[in-house]
């Protein structure tokens, strides 16, 4: 196990896993889009994950600016953690676009994406950290469908911080083994106060 730590998030990565903890600078409207998309989803907790945030601009039409956020110009920083059992490419989207394309059927990608403080305590995020199970993975949970891949997305709050856990496995055939590794990484992940 090799430790990886930043932004109050610490992981222990087993052999064959690598990871990144970064801060994504989200431009004003896009920041509003992401948080507003989550907020709108929080208002409708029964809607499927794939139905959320279809258009960044549509979500950006949320009425009021978010507290503590610049008014559409300054942007805001969100920690994004990626871990996977393959060589993570340098250019990756928050939810693994660019990485899942090169992952292969025996690969797994885990993304831990933090949302703004305004999401803490909302219905969508008001859950403890989940433990993914094979039966909960589905192809329509993927941000973008890729043949054979299955996705998993849950929202939770920990240490007063709102997160989305997003996991993609390369194939159902390897899913049990891949999830064993993912659960190991998750069990060795600690989230503390933001630093």
């Amino acid at each position: 196990m090799i430790p990886l730590s930043a932004q109050g998030i610490s992981l222990q990565l087993p052999a064959g896993w690598e990871g990144r903890i970064g801060l994504r600078t989200v431009a004003g409207p896009a920041a509003a889009a992401r948080s507003a998309a989550a907020r709108s989803a929080a208002a409708e907790p029964t809607s499927p994950p794939s139905a959320r945030g279809r258009s960044a601009l549509a979500a950006a039409a949320a009425p009021a600016p978010l507290s503590g956020e610049n008014d559409g110009i300054g942007g805001r920083l969100f920690p994004v953690t990626h871990a996977g059992n393959f060589a993570l490419p340098p250019d990756r989207g928050d939810f693994g676009s660019g990485a899942v394309d090169v992952m292969g059927e025996s690969g797994v990608l885990m993304a831990l994406v933090e949302y703004g403080d305004e999401c803490v305590g909302t219905a969508l995020f008001d859950h403890p950290r989940p433990v993914p199970r094979v039966a909960e993975f589905a192809p329509d949970t993927l941000q973008r469908r890729i043949s054979g891949q299955l996705g998993y997305q849950r929202f939770f709050t920990e240490a007063g911080r709102a997160f989305c856990l997003y996991v993609v496995v390369g194939s159902i055939r390897f899913a049990p083994t891949l999830l064993t590794g993912t659960r190991t990484v998750l069990s060795h992940t600690t989230i503390g106060p933001r630093r």
């Binding site: 930043a6 064959g16 896009a30 907020r39 929080a42 601009l57 039409a61 060589a87 928050d94």
Partner: protein, 267 residues
């Protein structure tokens, strides 16, 4: 008579040399056999000859599969130095762990620094999207850590779309003598399979091709071209926003809500 004696002497001398050569060859063969089966030589027969203990010790060279249930392969005759994983930060402050060992992907670690003039050419070369690499091979630029290297200076020259790790420990782990320096690591074995330096990536790629025997470093099209990944989610969001705005579709436009439901309406 004298001629006969001289002739016989020459024959005897020649035969003596021949017998000595045969004895030496025989001794070499016995020594090599002893090296192959050292255990057998421990239990000696009363006559002093190695006794056969169990079956013959059958081993294969690296890369040749051993029979099932057989003993382990012979060790690599020229093993590369063990590699280390790359743990550090990026110039933008991300925390990074790049595995070079235990992976199906090979890694070419390019050790560079901002103050080295030769390194500037590497930074430029590595930004070339047509850079050729063998399949399942990636390039990672490694600079010294922020305590010894300026992140802002690195940020100015770092090619986009190429992994970059700032880690002084990596320089120590790989015993890098100076910059620029390139180390190719075999991901499966976790060992260095080639290393060296040169004035440009072109020169270094030739060196790597010779060291690894992989022409993917040299010929565009034979290996995997070094490609930058497409833009990420945020870039795509920004692009979509720009295009919609350019088309006159502003936030809140009715056309964005074909089903009539506005996301802000319920909150």
């Amino acid at each position: 008579m004298t001629a006969a004696v001289i002739g016989l002497s020459v024959v005897v001398a020649a035969l003596t040399v021949l017998v000595a050569g045969l004895l030496r060859s025989h001794a070499t063969i016995l020594r090599r056999l002893h090296e192959l089966d050292p255990a057998g030589s421990d239990a000696r027969s009363p006559a002093g000859f190695p006794a056969q203990v169990g079956g013959p010790d059958f081993r294969t060279f690296p890369g040749i599969p051993a029979p099932s249930g057989g003993p382990a392969p012979l060790p690599d005759p020229v093993p590369g130095a063990p590699a280390a994983d790359l743990s550090g930060v990026t110039p933008t402050g991300e925390s990074v762990l790049v595995r070079t060992t235990g992976m199906t992907t090979d890694t070419v670690a390019v050790f560079l620094s901002s103050g080295c003039s030769t390194c500037q050419r590497f930074f430029t070369d590595l930004a070339d999207r047509r850079l050729s690499l063998p399949p399942r091979t990636r390039v990672v630029i490694v600079t010294k850590g922020p305590e010894e290297e300026s992140p802002s200076a690195i940020l100015e020259v770092a090619p986009p779309g190429v992994d970059l790790v700032m880690s002084s420990r990596a320089w120590t782990d790989f015993r890098v003598p100076g910059s620029p320096y390139v180390v190719a690591v075999d991901g499966r074995s976790g060992r260095v399979k080639g290393e060296g330096t040169g004035p440009s990536w072109e020169q270094v790629s030739r060196l790597l091709a010779r060291a690894t025997g992989d022409l993917g470093y040299l010929t565009p099209g034979t290996g995997t071209e070094h490609r930058h990944r497409p833009t990420g989610d945020l870039d795509r969001e920004a692009r979509v926003d720009r295009e919609l705005l350019a088309a006159g579709v502003l936030p809140g436009d009715d056309s964005l809500y074909p089903d009539g439901g506005r996301p802000g309406a319920a909150s």
